[in-house]
């Protein structure tokens, strides 16, 4: 099995799906000749041509809207938002149209579109290039939000998203693109959307997180293992709708639950996870459910010291994990 990077897994999944199904096409800003600002669509323009790899104007509402229209007519568009921060002009298209069309048309219509967007901080991107936007979409039934943490999950879940018959938001952590590498099978495979994955078995504390923070938790867990603290780590993978069964199982396993995100604390994905744990696990809980998240300030700052303060990192996760283990 080849070891490839997180972004190579994106490209591989796109290429394989475009080869597999003619209806699959990509559209977005600079995705064609340039191969994307992060090079996620590198080589696709040469291989599939300008009809299936569309460079679009700087108009996210149009990217989403064209994609949704094409999807409703039977195509399988993969729209790219250059940065998740730029998705805001497309929110009306995504929430009012894509999310609701199946329900609104009583199953006559559907919008099998995949919208990819790089999110997250830690890359000196400041305000418009560092945001986590998942919480904006995470109370819109009709949408699915996938946020993978490993190259293996990226490939399997991106393929599943493209093949899904309803709109999927596929958020890729931009810092993970070249930082995270892993083994990825060359053959075709998909992973189920809506299923969380246990990334580490443990019995002392449970960490539930997603995206890049999964790696911070895994690193912290290795350090803590030397101190005899055995962490159980659940990667949500799909943050909407949540895999309640796996969350309940993981939380009940140790009774000490730490939820981690680099998004702002209040009203985020992990707040919903916390509610699920509270509703279902009272008699297994051995400590208050803990949330470790970014501060509730409007955006990731630019100054390196400030960004470091905002951004999640293995040390912060380790400290919170140890604190909970000692409770």
């Amino acid at each position: 099995m080849a070891v490839i990077s997180y972004i190579q897994a994106v490209t591989q999944a796109l290429r394989e799906e475009m080869q597999r199904d003619e209806k699959v096409f990509v559209l977005g800003e600079d995705v064609g000749k340039r191969g994307g600002v992060f090079r996620a669509t590198d080589g696709l323009y040469d291989e599939f041509g300008e009809d299936r790899v569309l460079d679009t104007p700087l108009a996210e509402s149009a990217i989403a809207g064209v994609g949704i229209g094409a999807a409703m007519y039977g195509m399988r568009p993969v729209a790219e938002m250059q940065f998740a921060d730029f998705i805001m002009p497309a929110v009306n298209q995504i929430i009012s149209e894509a999310a609701k069309i199946r329900y609104r048309s009583n199953n006559d219509w559907s919008a099998p579109i995949t919208i990819r967007a790089p999110y997250g901080g830690g890359v000196h991107g400041a305000l418009y290039h560092s945001q986590s936007v998942e919480a904006v979409f995470a109370n819109q039934p009709g949408l699915k939000i996938v946020m993978p943490s490993t190259p293996y999950d990226v490939k399997g879940l991106l393929k599943a998203s493209i093949r899904d018959n309803d709109p999927v938001l596929f958020f890729e952590h931009k810092r993970a693109y070249r930082l995270i590498k892993g083994e990825v099978p060359e053959e075709d495979y998909t992973l189920p959307i809506g299923k969380a994955d246990v990334k580490r078995e443990g019995s002392d504390i449970t960490v539930i997180t997603y995206g890049l923070c999964v790696h911070f938790a895994l690193q912290a867990a290795e350090k803590l293992a030397e101190e005899g603290i055995d962490a159980h780590i659940l990667d949500l993978r799909t943050v909407y709708p949540l895999d309640k069964e796996s969350i309940i199982e993981a939380a009940s396993k140790t009774g000490k639950v730490l939820l981690v995100t680099e998004d702002n604390k209040e009203g985020g994905i992990i707040s919903e996870v916390s509610a699920i744990v509270s509703e279902n696990c009272l008699f297994d809980l051995d400590a208050p459910v803990q949330r470790l998240a970014g501060p509730d300030i409007p955006s990731m700052p630019y100054a390196p010291t400030m960004e470091k303060h905002f951004m999640m990192n293995p040390d912060k996760v380790e400290k919170a994990m140890r604190d909970l283990a000692e409770f």
Partner: protein, 434 residues
């Protein structure tokens, strides 16, 4: 083969458990059948438990202060012909050992840390659940969490090691094992007063709470927390009664050999009034009120640090002399520690002679589950304005505590007025002692 068990005997009709106040024997002591081996206190009475066998005491399974259910093991005794040490009793003890050693090793572990134990009694839902499901006494589990908190893992370790210390913390015999469970609601029904965190300072004396003191405490808490008490008091002119009693007391003492106390007159008056107001002779029973037919009056008898409430049975059927005799007998028995559970059973109302301490006003705590208690205070000479002039009269206060669930002011007031009327009418002319 040669070892027998001595179990907690049934010490009274409604008695379900007894607390060992003192062991009268030690392992190795020779005892004859019927020799007393332990003093046991029940919620009604102190009693001695006789040995069921002749033999040598092998081991004391229960310790002083332990509360044992009727029929449960107190100690083992080697009967004649025995004397070897390979009996089931020994095996039983070994089974107990792992639990104590685990908890001890845990104890020393955490003790060596020298950490504070402030969170020891903060139990998480998981810990509470596991403790209840596995019947674990959390007081015996050492916590490794912050501030000595017992973590879920701590409990899981105890369960895994099999060293489950029962919440009831009493030894179980093989054949009695299934019957141990019904004890749970029993203990739940008992009030568990919260213990404030008080420390004894230098020079303070710590007195362990055992035996009767413990029972008094438990009963008082039960009564005061369960019964909504209300109070009232009347002042009674007993000048004529004092004259009556003074005229008769010397001759009575000579004739009968015991004293004619004021208290007998008061008890008589209360019994008579209760006949007319049976509402006060009743018990709150949740969805109903039970009015008792028999008038059995508890009287409070104090002895050093102990308080007993023996019963004058069918007080309404007795003369003042008969009541005086009962009082003398019961008080004597209480002083000599010879009250039996029979003497304590069946009370329906309590009369308390607080006047004997010189008290002129007090608020009694109702003797649970009765519905009222009457305190007879000191008789005091007072100037009283009567018939247009002041005169010196013998006055006494009668203080009534009532269960306001059962009784209201009106009926209680009428009852007190009736007692007052009866007492004020008692005089040489119209009252017979016999």
């Amino acid at each position: 083969m040669g070892v027998e068990k001595i179990n907690m005997p049934q010490l009274g009709e409604s008695v379900t458990e007894g607390t060992i106040s003192t062991w009268l024997v030690q392992p190795g002591d020779k005892v004859n059948k019927y020799d007393p081996i332990a003093e046991v206190m029940t919620d009604k009475v102190n009693a001695e438990v006789p040995s069921s066998f002749t033999g040598v005491i092998k081991d004391l399974v229960a310790s002083e202060g332990d509360t044992i259910e009727v029929g449960e093991l107190m100690c083992h005794i080697e009967i004649e012909g025995g004397g070897s040490s390979s009996e089931p009793a020994a095996a039983e003890q070994k089974e107990d050992e792992p639990s104590t050693t685990t908890s001890k090793s845990q104890a020393s572990e955490s003790a060596s840390n020298g950490k504070d134990q402030g969170q020891k009694k903060r139990y998480s839902p998981a810990v509470m659940t596991l403790a209840q499901e596995n019947d674990i006494d959390l007081n015996q589990v050492e916590g490794t969490g912050r501030g000595g908190r017992i973590t879920r893992k701590d409990i899981e370790k105890v369960i895994e090691s099999g060293g489950v210390s029962k919440a009831e913390d009493r030894p179980q015999t093989e054949q009695k094992a299934p019957s141990a469970e019904p004890s749970a609601p029993e203990s739940a029904a008992k009030p568990a007063p919260s213990v404030p965190d008080v420390q004894a300072g230098e020079g303070d004396i710590e007195i362990p709470v055992t035996g009767v003191r413990k029972a008094i405490a438990a009963n008082m808490v039960k009564s005061k927390t369960e019964i909504p008490h209300a109070w009232m008091m009347v002042e009674v002119d007993v000048t004529n009664l004092v004259e009556l009693r003074n005229a008769k007391k010397n001759q009575f003492k000579k004739q009968e050999g015991y004293s004619l106390t004021y208290f007998a007159f008061f008890v008589k008056a209360v019994a008579q009034a209760l006949k007319e107001y049976p509402q006060l002779n009743s018990t709150w029973a949740g969805d109903k009120i039970i009015q008792r037919k028999a008038i059995n009056l508890n009287i409070a008898v104090a002895k050093e640090d102990q308080l007993f409430v023996p019963v004058i049975k069918n007080a309404d059927e007795k003369s003042i002399k008969g009541i005086a005799r009962d009082i003398t007998e019961l008080a004597g028995k209480a002083r000599d520690g010879k009250l039996t559970s029979k003497d304590m059973e069946g009370g329906t109302f309590t009369v308390n002679n607080t006047g004997s301490f010189g008290s002129v006003q007090s608020m009694g705590v109702i003797n649970h589950p009765q519905s009222a208690i009457l305190q007879v205070e000191s008789i005091v000479k007072k100037p009283v304005y009567q018939n247009g002039m002041f005169g010196a009269r013998d006055m006494v206060n009668l203080c009534l505590s009532l269960d306001h669930r059962v009784l209201d002011g009106l009926v209680a007031g009428n009852f007190l007025a009736r007692v007052k009327e009866i007492l004020e009418k008692m005089s040489e002319e119209n009252t017979s002692i016999y």
